[in-house]
């Protein structure tokens, strides 16, 4: 474990050969110093999550980024399983006041790819609601654990865009991540990779 971990990217994409976009995003994030990418479908193909390892990383990272593609208006199954087994209430958000909330004070946001266009995600559009509505459970989970929630970083039309747009999006996200990690980082600059 490196103590200069600045951001943990929780990446979940079950598609056979990861969609162009997700792969680019993950690679772009991994290339930043101090960023650790957890490729859930590669780590836990059997859906059995190493809870202790995940929690150790979470406690260390000041910034949390969820990268996934929306499917049926929700996160992929393994990411949900990851939440269910890692974020046990008694660990992440205990009811009694004497026990600490382990993730208190961290920051989180989601980078979400959607198949539809931005126009589809609004009242009256093909998907009926804005993207934020579909991310509400995630947002509330993060807040309940005492973390700050930043605006999501959406990428519309993920299935139809060209490589250039995908690269652009990945670059944007990388910049965003670097900025947030810099802000959220309360540690002195460390140059080493978090991998």
């Amino acid at each position: 474990m490196s103590s200069d971990l600045r951001a943990l990217v929780v990446f979940a994409d079950p598609s056979l050969h990861r969609s162009r976009i997700s792969r680019r995003v993950a690679e772009a994030c991994a290339s930043l110093p101090g960023v650790r990418v957890r490729d859930l479908y590669q780590l836990y193909p059997d859906f059995y999550i190493d809870v202790r390892a995940e929690r150790a990383l979470l406690e260390e990272a000041p910034l949390l980024v969820f990268v996934f593609q929306l499917g049926w208006y929700a996160m992929p199954a393994l990411l949900k399983e990851w939440f269910d087994s890692v974020f046990k209430p008694e660990w992440a958000a205990p009811c009694d006041g004497n026990r600490p909330r382990r993730l208190q004070g961290k920051t989180a946001f989601a980078a979400v790819a959607c198949a539809g266009s931005a126009r589809d995600y609004r009242a009256g559009g093909a998907h009926g609601r804005p993207l934020e509505d579909y991310l509400a459970p995630l947002e509330q989970s993060v807040k309940a654990c005492g973390m700050a929630w930043l605006a999501p970083h959406p990428f519309y039309g993920a299935d139809s865009t060209d490589a250039e747009a995908a690269a652009r999006h990945a670059g944007d996200l990388r910049a965003l991540l670097a900025r947030h990690a810099g802000i959220a980082s309360k540690q002195p600059q460390g140059g080493a990779h978090g991998a």
């Binding site: 059997d46 059995y48 190493d50 809870v51 202790r52 929690r55 087994s85 046990k88 008694e90 660990w91």
Partner: protein
């Protein structure tokens, strides 16, 4: 005296060291090499050695050790499950061959007593030749090997009444103790052996292992086998059979491995000596007096025996090539024939000349076995191959393929999964039946000993993406892994391990992906047992997964230490201690992880 002993030893060892490697390089096999070495130094070759009889008698101890070691591999329960095949097949083989040979001899105008003894003696095969060949070629697990093994065992048992029968037919008065009291003695002896095995030998082994002196343990192992053999000999039983029984009795003891490793070198050398002695005992004087008659007899004998074996192989459930191989393996006359004919000459059932002619015939038939096997390998096998060889175009020069070495029950599942996903496959196996079936489906299959690097090259290992190592035997698996590592260092190996130790041995060779063959399925059965007990299905799954992670971790943690443990600490005790420690660790780890995961038993 001891000077001459050393000189003799020098001659043997020199002959073996010179001839056997050459024979092996020429692909003649070790057995034939020893036989040739024996002929070379015997009275009819260079004449360096004279006391052939004594040597032959002494070296029979090699056969005894071979059977002892084989007995060690066979637990009584397994032996019991083989009883039908032993008595059914064995009796069919001995009976069939004896009747035909008897008929042939009677037609040739030989007296019935003589014909009967000769036929009985010749119906036996050579345990030494057949078993060592089967081991060398890894045939014991195949149907032919199992049938052969059963038949050889039966023959060892059948030899006892045969030897008892000889004096009854003899012209001289039979020995003081007739057949019945002999049989009674034999039974008493067996009972004594079983009791001693349980209540005497094991405590002694424990005591001697406790002293921690390795060489005394070895001495005791030898002492044990020698004394049992001599006792058996006293009551007129087969020494080899006695040793085999002793081996079986110790098969489930914790000192099995220690005994095996200690006796292994003796076994090999003495067996070699035995074959050398057989080579020396070919009396070329008798042979040269009437060569054609003897060659004719040997040929007729072999033909009859081969025919019976080949016919028998069918009801045993063997097909084409296996039948031929099986017949070849058991076609020769055995070392027991020497004893039977010796006894018959003593009892004057037939004269010394006849006995020596028959001995030459048996020795020639022993020499014929390796030659027949060469014929099989070099002529028949390639011929069959060419018959079935599809034009090598569609799947030729497999590149980007996966090689599966060992296509048995285990390899098949791996192979079928890959095949279903369009991964090009190449199989290596040494079971010819299997290969025919696979060829029908258009797979590229290579037949033979996968540890040979030329075969790996032929199978396209240089262009393979991975090698799945799923052969049955631990030794073969390690040999193959080492060969692949040396020859194709970049080829990833994915291996099936029989147990944790095997797993470690593979890791020593640099294999990183190893699956224990029983682990995942046992885990699944445990999970289903939990469900049966009323645990929730999902809870059982989580528990099994948790256990799995923990177990995989422990296996890796123990790896660095597995070699330093004292050799002579018994495997069984070590396994018990490990299990104990594991139970402790499992419990602790389980409660800790469960706490972390906040899992509550979901049972009713």
């Amino acid at each position: 005296m001891e000077h001459s002993l050393l000189l003799n030893a020098l001659v043997y060892l020199a002959a073996a060291v010179i001839v056997v490697p050459v024979a092996r390089r020429l692909g003649l096999g070790a057995v034939l090499g020893y036989l040739l070495a024996g002929i070379a130094i015997g009275p009819w070759g260079l004449g360096l050695i004279r006391e052939v009889e004594t040597i032959l008698h002494f070296s029979e101890f090699g056969v005894v050790l071979l059977l002892f070691v084989i007995g060690l591999e066979l637990e009584p329960r397994r032996l019991w499950s083989l009883r039908r095949s032993i008595f059914g097949w064995g009796a069919a083989q001995v009976g069939g061959v004896t009747l035909l040979l008897l008929g042939a001899a009677l037609l040739a105008g030989v007296g019935w007593k003589m014909a009967l003894i000769a036929a009985l003696g010749l119906s036996l095969s050579s345990t030494a030749v057949a078993l060592s060949t089967m081991q060398e070629r890894n045939l014991i697990p195949t149907p032919a090997g199992q049938a052969g093994f059963s038949i050889l065992l039966f023959q060892d048992i059948a030899a006892i009444p045969m030897i008892a029968l000889v004096p009854l037919l003899g012209v001289t008065a039979a020995d003081a103790d007739g057949g019945w009291s002999g049989a009674f003695k034999a039974i008493a002896m067996i009972a004594a052996l079983v009791l001693a095995g349980r209540f005497l030998i094991r405590p002694m082994l424990r005591f001697i292992a406790g002293t921690g002196m390795r060489e005394i343990f070895t001495a005791f192992a030898l002492l044990l086998v020698i004394s049992i053999s001599l006792l058996m000999d006293q009551v007129g039983m087969s020494m080899a059979l006695g040793a085999f029984m002793a081996g079986v009795l110790l098969a489930d003891s914790e000192y099995r491995h220690a005994l095996e490793t200690d006796l292994e070198p003796f076994k090999g050398l003495l067996l070699g000596l035995f074959f050398i002695a057989v080579g020396m005992s070919v009396d070329f004087g008798v042979f040269l007096a009437q060569p054609w008659r003897i060659v004719g007899m040997a040929a007729a004998f072999l033909a009859i025996k081969l025919a019976v074996l080949w016919l028998l192989a069918r009801p045993f459930g063997m097909t084409g090539r296996q039948r031929v191989l099986f017949a070849f393996l058991l076609s020769q006359g055995g070392e027991f024939a020497f004893v039977v004919f010796g006894a018959a000459a003593t009892a004057r059932v037939f004269d010394a000349d006849t006995a020596s002619i028959l001995v030459v015939v048996v020795a020639l038939s022993m020499i014929a076995t390796p030659l027949l096997l060469i014929l099989y390998d070099r002529v028949l096998e390639p011929y069959w191959q060419s018959l079935r060889q599809r034009p090598a175009d569609a799947v030729d020069a497999n590149r980007e393929h996966v090689i599966i070495a060992g296509f048995g029950r285990f390899g098949q599942i791996v192979g079928r999964l890959l095949h279903a996903n369009q991964v090009p496959l190449t199989m290596l196996d040494h079971d010819p039946d299997q290969i025919d079936t696979l060829r029908e489906f258009g797979f590229k299959v290579f037949y033979g000993d996968a540890t040979r690097t030329d075969l790996l090259h032929a199978a396209g290992a240089a262009h393979a993406r991975a090698l799945v190592l799923s052969v049955d035997g631990i030794d073969d698996s390690l040999k193959l892994a080492a060969a692949v590592r040396a020859e194709f260092p970049d080829l990833p190996i994915l291996a099936r391990a029989r147990n944790v130790t095997h797993c470690y041995q593979l890791m020593d060779l640099g294999v990183t992906i190893v699956e224990r063959e029983t682990f995942e399925s046992a885990l699944m059965l445990g999970r289903r047992t939990m469900e049966q007990l009323g645990f929730g299905a999902y809870f059982a799954r989580q528990a099994a997964m948790r256990f799995r992670e923990h177990n995989l971790r422990s296996v890796l943690e123990v790896y660095p230490y597995y070699k330093d443990r004292a050799q002579y600490v018994s495997m069984a005790r070590r396994a018990r201690e490990e299990l104990h420690a594991m139970f402790e660790r499992d419990f602790v780890a389980n409660s800790r992880d469960r706490e972390a995961e906040g899992d509550e038993p979901g049972n009713a």
